[in-house]
């Protein structure tokens, strides 16, 4: 299939999902407890019927649902995600301010878990049946069953409270006034615990997946041929098996982008990391529904974007992939 056609098809699919999320979000706003007009009136300090009716007319809340949906779509397209009455700021501003921190955290956790997971999975497959294999797979089994937030708390308990090696809260030392490289080092220092705790669950997933995929490819005929030709084992693993086994891992990893965001909500809550996960938690505590739904919408959009990029990358990594898949 032509690349352009492929590109258009994937873009259309992504647009379809985002549109669906926006509509879903709109319906959820309708279902959210509390009449927005009443909330507004409450904030303004007046609660009489006439004032509420006037507010309804002013914000179009008396219009039929589909008209409201259209104007909601219009707002979203122009970058307006609603208004946080609790914080007195537009939701979009709140989210944009917090998004970089979350991207930093999820990005580094993703790289950490993918690299470590593939290395451990290859080692386990290479030494299949050995003590090392058992240790790696037991570790993967345990971390696959451990709640993220609990790993985070235990990490704080051990590495921050008892050993005092790593900072338990925040993204940088408050009031230290670092700039340039010193600031980067400070943030990296704060990043270690959140990254590792968010990444360990996914490391377990990727380790298991890589090992299974490696073992599957190791049984194929071309590997037997390579072995029969006398190619050294290390080289077979690297050049023949790994290259073929790694693709399913990447596929799965890109599908998991959404899960990583969910994990970030928990990790950021524990570590007071100033990202949108923490924002979501604060919105929950304050019953700030516009912010809650705004965060949901933005995370869904980011996930769709990540999936789209991954899809396009595949075309370059493996030209055999057809668009039908």
């Amino acid at each position: 299939m032509k690349t352009l056609e492929f590109l258009i098809q994937r873009l259309a699919k992504a647009a379809f999902v985002v549109l669906g999320v926006v509509i879903l979000n709109f319906l959820l706003i309708q279902l959210a407890p509390g009449d927005p007009a009443a909330v507004l009136a409450g904030e303004a300090g007046a609660g009489d019927e006439q004032f509420i009716a006037q507010l309804r007319a002013q914000f179009g809340l008396d219009q039929p649902l589909y008209v409201q949906l259209l104007s909601y779509l219009q707002n979203i397209l122009s970058g307006d995600l609603g208004y946080s009455y609790r914080n007195q700021v537009p939701v979009a501003d709140l989210i944009m301010e917090r998004l970089p921190a979350t991207l930093l955290l999820t990005g580094s956790a993703f790289v950490f878990s993918l690299v470590l997971g593939i290395v451990l999975g290859v080692l386990a497959a290479y030494k299949r049946g050995s003590l090392g294999d058992s240790l790696i797979m037991t570790g993967a089994l345990v971390f696959y069953a451990t709640p993220l937030f609990w790993v985070a708390l235990m990490a704080v308990l051990v590495f921050s409270i008892h050993l005092d090696w790593l900072p338990p809260f925040d993204m940088e030392s408050i009031g230290a006034g670092y700039t340039g490289w010193a600031r980067a080092a400070d943030i990296a220092h704060h990043l270690v615990l959140p990254t590792v705790t968010l990444g360990l669950f996914f490391t377990a997933v990727y380790t298991r997946l890589t090992r299974a995929s490696m073992l599957e490819v190791m049984n194929l005929d071309f590997v037997k041929t390579a072995r029969a030709k006398g190619v050294p084992k290390g080289r077979i693993i690297r050049r023949h098996v790994l290259r073929n086994a790694i693709l399913p891992v990447f596929t799965f990893a890109s599908v998991q982008a959404g899960q990583l965001v969910g994990g970030a909500v928990l990790t950021e809550t524990v570590f007071a990391w100033p990202g949108i996960g923490r924002l979501m938690f604060d919105a929950l505590m304050q019953r700030d529904y516009p912010v809650l739904l705004g965060v949901f919408l933005v995370t869904a959009a980011v996930v769709v974007l990540v999936n789209l990029v991954a899809d396009l990358l595949y075309r370059f990594v493996d030209p055999r992939i057809e668009t039908a898949g």
Binding site: L24, P147, F149, L153, A212, V261, V265, M280
Partner: protein, 278 residues
């Protein structure tokens, strides 16, 4: 070799089963073991573990017994884990069966729908759903079900797609059986083993999701749950580590046991795949 004997050969699966039996017994026996509500303070506040033999796992700031909380928490975790999985399996099987059996446009539409739900970040969606429908056991169970059915639908669709063209299904068509009847009595029984394996692993994921939700304060206010205990103990980590350590161990052990069972079922039901997965 029979299914049971194959299962019994897997030591991990047996350990998992043993642990799960204990957890289920504790969940059932909780009101007998701890007649006083787990919300009620019973001992001195902040007793460390093993300080007082009456409260082996210690007490929290309000003197509530941690062991009692864990026993009652097992009820919530198992209940929500099992029911939400059951709901998700029903949704997934229904949609997957229709898509795989009828194919064509029905398949296209249903799979678009499934992909849509699979793309949305699951946990964030569960959080939003529970927050909006106010946290109670029904909304939590349904929210978890809503975010976990897509893999079942895809699996069932694949199975139905491949079984549909088999001879015994064609024979049923020739005999004049209706579509729904063929799906329910001919195809579904032949697709049941991968569904069971997937469902067992989903229970584990559902328990993790439930604990995460209640950790964030989105648990049922009337029911003690492991996630809630850890969430409430979070700020006291420095002073009272046991408040968050023990409920976490309970989650870990339960989820681990269910995963081991799921893998054991997988190996026992698909012996030819043995050793290839995980």
């Amino acid at each position: 070799m029979s299914f049971l004997r194959r299962y019994a050969q897997n030591i991990g699966a047996l350990i998992g089963l043993a642990i799960l039996v204990v957890v289920v017994l504790v969940a059932f026996a909780a009101p007998l073991l701890y007649p006083v509500s787990p919300w009620q303070g019973v001992g001195e506040p902040l007793l460390g573990p093993f300080e007082d033999p009456a409260y082996p796992l210690g007490t929290d700031l309000l003197g509530r017994d941690i062991a009692a909380g864990i026993a009652y928490g097992a009820r919530v975790s198992l209940l929500i884990g099992i029911i939400s999985t059951a709901v998700a399996v029903v949704i997934g099987v229904a949609l997957g069966a229709l898509a795989g059996f009828y194919g064509g446009r029905v398949d296209d539409m249903l799979m678009r729908f499934t992909e849509f739900f699979q793309t949305i970040p699951a946990f964030a969606m569960a959080v939003v759903l529970v927050a909006i429908f106010s946290p109670n056991i029904t909304s939590i169970t349904l929210a978890i079900a809503v975010v976990s059915w897509p893999p079942v639908a895809r699996l069932v669709r694949g199975e139905f797609l491949s079984l549909r063209s088999r001879e015994f299904v064609q024979a049923a068509v020739v005999v004049g059986q209706t579509g729904p009847r063929i799906m329910a009595t001919q195809i579904l029984p032949n697709a049941i083993s991968p569904i069971i394996v997937t469902a067992s692993l989903m229970v584990a994921t559902a328990i993790l999701t439930e604990s995460s939700l209640s950790f964030l304060g989105l648990g049922d206010r009337n029911m003690m749950s492991w996630g809630f205990m850890i969430g409430a103990a979070r700020t006291m980590l420095r002073e009272a580590w046991w408040l968050s350590v023990f409920p976490g161990v309970a989650i870990l052990v339960t989820v681990l046991a269910i995963n081991l069972i799921g893998e054991g079922l997988n190996d026992a039901m698909n012996p030819h795949l043995r050793g290839r997965k995980g």
